[in-house]
């Protein structure tokens, strides 16, 4: 006699990704078989970008605590997965950010002064003070525009990547998001459209274990986030996101296969959000300090430094020079940003449309002739 199970083959999905995490840098600083074997100067460049990102992060958090900027959303502990993946994008490729990737934007060449002007929303802010701090845009650096609602950038990245391909380029688009965003409609839709349209897009999931106060195990019943690729026919891979060389290697391969016309990929980058969600968040309310300390032991910066030391490519003197240099540069940028005026009053009405319609002209006149106009230049 057949059992019920045989007649109706309901299956519990098995994870194909459970134990498969690409790692390169071992605890002792040596590298494994997936080592991309980059020139040592390039690895030093990664390290410098990571330390620079962290140094800026720490200073901006301090600045927020002093009440000099309104907000900061940082990447403490996630530097390797952000910089490693950004570095894996070729110059012609595009990045659609979530909101935790200022390190990638600076790595792509946005001047620190421009970023700081954006933090202050002053007259030199490229987006004219229209968005909160850390909601940057950088088209000149082939970098998208930050939106706060979760997941919105994913379907856009798919359409963007598809358009680039149809225009005959080999440009690949990557899109960042946290593991919490895999619960959003846009993730499912984006992955599905990417699979069907074979768009040259690389989905970069920063699995940092926390979506504000909700731990990653509450986001999904799947064993891993990479498993989600299976349902959409999107190839997926898990990588140690605290290992910059492994992240670079994995993302680079995904970029190259997308550029060859082999379609999208999903990369789950395993990392940890050491800081709060943002300066508005205090994680002590929902997670134990032990967990944080445990993750600090896998610190991506410490890990890469150990590797560089085995190569004889780094020492304390260089570290101090880099940290102090970044701090001094940032300090000068902050002083300059604070001395700059606010955006002109009338700019509120610019850029709603390509041209101002009558109702905005009317409202602009109201503001410009209003009681606060004299406080502005």
């Amino acid at each position: 006699m057949q059992t019920q199970e045989q007649v109706v083959p309901i299956r519990t999905p098995e994870s194909s990704f459970d134990d498969e995490v690409v790692t390169v840098i071992a605890k002792d600083g040596s590298t494994g078989p997936a080592d991309p074997k980059l020139p040592v100067e390039q690895v030093v460049d990664f390290y410098e970008a990571m330390v620079r990102t962290r140094t800026i992060d720490v200073q901006l958090e301090r600045l927020q605590r002093q009440g000099r900027i309104g907000f900061h959303i940082g990447s403490l502990g996630e530097e390797a997965c952000i910089l490693g993946s950004a570095a894996a994008m070729r110059p012609q490729d595009w990045i659609f950010p979530c909101y935790r990737e200022f390190g990638a934007l600076l790595y792509r060449g946005m001047p620190l002064q421009t970023y700081v002007d954006n933090m202050y929303g002053n007259a030199d802010d490229p987006v004219k003070g229209r968005q909160m701090p850390d909601h940057y845009t950088g088209r000149a650096f082939r970098f998208g525009s930050v939106s706060s609602p979760i997941g919105t950038q994913m379907t856009q990245a798919v359409g963007f990547a598809w358009a680039a391909q149809k225009k005959g380029t080999d440009e690949v688009t990557s899109v960042y998001f946290g593991e919490g965003a895999t619960s959003s409609a846009e993730f499912h839709t984006g992955m599905n459209f990417a699979g069907v349209m074979k768009a040259p897009v690389v989905f970069l999931c920063r699995n940092n274990r926390w979506a504000i106060s909700v731990p990653s195990e509450k986001q999904t019943a799947s064993k891993t986030f990479a498993d989600k690729g299976v349902a959409y026919g999107v190839p997926a891979v898990r990588v140690d996101g605290n290992d910059v060389l492994a992240t670079y290697k994995v993302v680079r391969e995904c970029v190259e296969r997308a550029a060859r016309g082999e379609g999208p990929a999903l990369v789950e980058m395993l990392t940890y959000r050491v800081g709060g969600h943002s300066t508005s968040d205090d994680p002590r309310a929902y997670r134990v300090q032990d967990e944080v300390e445990q993750w600090r032991r896998t610190d991506p910066v410490v890990r890469l430094r150990r590797h560089l030391e085995t190569l004889g490519a780094w020492d304390d003197a260089r570290e101090e020079e880099l940290t102090k240099g970044t701090e001094a540069e940032l300090k000068a940028c902050i002083a300059a940003a604070e001395a700059k005026p606010k955006p002109a009053l009338g700019t509120i009405f610019d850029g709603v449309f390509a041209e101002r319609p009558w109702h905005l002209e009317e409202q602009a006149a109201e503001l410009l002739n209003g009681p606060r106009a004299k406080d502005h230049h």
């Binding site: 987006v127 379907t155 449309f353 390509a354």
Partner: protein, 326 residues
């Protein structure tokens, strides 16, 4: 000059735009091989191929999200939402993304696209195939909203919308789709956005309407003409930015205004029009402005002709407004 209905006129505008500009692509549910459930995109798939007339997976959020990505890159997507009632899964992408890209990026990214969608009732479609959600998009900074009433305007306005540098919601009155035929010129026809049309001149009262309700307004205007009432009827054509000059000069002339729309009354576009008329024409008004609209209920199926602001409801409103004495 060929005679066209509104379906054919929209199709013609799309075809011409796609022939002129390789960056114009059409995407949506069933828009490809079958040519759309209303056949508005019929034949485009055969002429332009599956890369420019794209049958997408079934997700409105995905259609608009990917269309935004295409627009950001430099293409001119014309996504179709099968019914305006289905637009809400894409609401966030439209109001927080497409509408805001130019502003939030300091002009580094722009989002020129035309979202086409059939709108309105009177076709026995029930709640989910009959709604008129225009005021939600008018309320959203960064969007233009167009609703033609006839084939000629549909072709000319869609052509302009596709050339426009900003995102445009293009509502097609589905009750008019095949009900009205008229001469529409072959080849290029472009009508400027933001211009209303005085479709009937009159002295006693101004009636403001658009889409399918324009014909109801005209029927009422004709009905009361027998009683010696002279109605001026405006077809807004572009709802936003609205042509305030044409509205104000008409109301200043007649001193009385009746606003007609299918959408519910509360916070419907009529509320904004009424406010504008009051602000701009207060001393010229001889009667309280009146709205004849859908009711503040979900759109009903069996009783849809009682819900809609049809001739039988517009005519008494015209008579009462003209007869009003303080």
């Amino acid at each position: 000059m060929p005679e066209m209905n509104l379906v054919q006129a929209v199709n013609d505008a799309l075809r011409i735009a796609m022939r002129e500009d390789d960056d114009v692509v059409v995407l949506g549910e069933d828009v490809g091989k079958v040519g759309g459930v209303f056949r508005v995109t019929q034949g485009l798939f055969d002429e332009f191929g599956e890369d420019r007339v794209i049958d997408t997976p079934l997700s409105e959020g995905g259609i608009i999200g990917t269309a935004i990505g295409m627009a950001l890159y430099g293409m001119k997507p014309v996504p179709e939402i099968q019914f305006a009632d289905f637009i809400f899964p894409a609401f966030d992408q439209i109001v927080s993304e497409a509408a805001k890209y130019r502003y939030r990026s300091g002009g580094e990214y722009t989002c020129p696209m035309v979202i086409r969608t059939p709108v309105g009732g009177g076709i026995r479609g029930g709640h989910y195939h009959s709604q008129s959600p225009e005021s939600l998009f008018i309320h959203t900074a960064g969007l233009k909203v167009v609703c033609p009433s006839n084939p000629y305007d549909a072709k000319g306005l869609l052509t302009a919308a596709i050339k426009d540098p900003d995102p445009v919601l293009f509502f097609e009155p589905k009750r008019v789709y095949r009900a009205v035929k008229m001469d529409v010129p072959e080849g290029d026809l472009e009508l400027p956005l933001g211009k209303a049309k005085v479709v009937r001149e009159g002295e006693d009262v101004t009636v403001i309407a658009w889409g399918a309700m324009l014909f109801e307004a005209l029927a009422s205007a004709e009905e009361v003409e027998a009683d010696g009432l002279s109605c001026e009827v405006l077809d807004l054509r572009t709802l936003w930015p609205v042509d305030i000059d044409t509205i104000a000069s008409s109301v200043k002339k007649t001193g009385r205004v009746v606003i007609v729309h299918e959408a519910p009354k509360a916070c419907g576009f009529g509320a904004e029009l009424l406010s504008m008329v009051t602000e701009k024409c207060f001393v010229h008004l001889e009667a309280p402005p009146v709205r004849v609209t859908g009711f503040d209920t979900p759109f009903p199926y069996t009783l849809e002709m009682e819900y809609l602001p049809l001739q039988h409801r517009i005519t008494p409103a015209l008579r009462e407004t003209v007869a009003y004495e303080p």
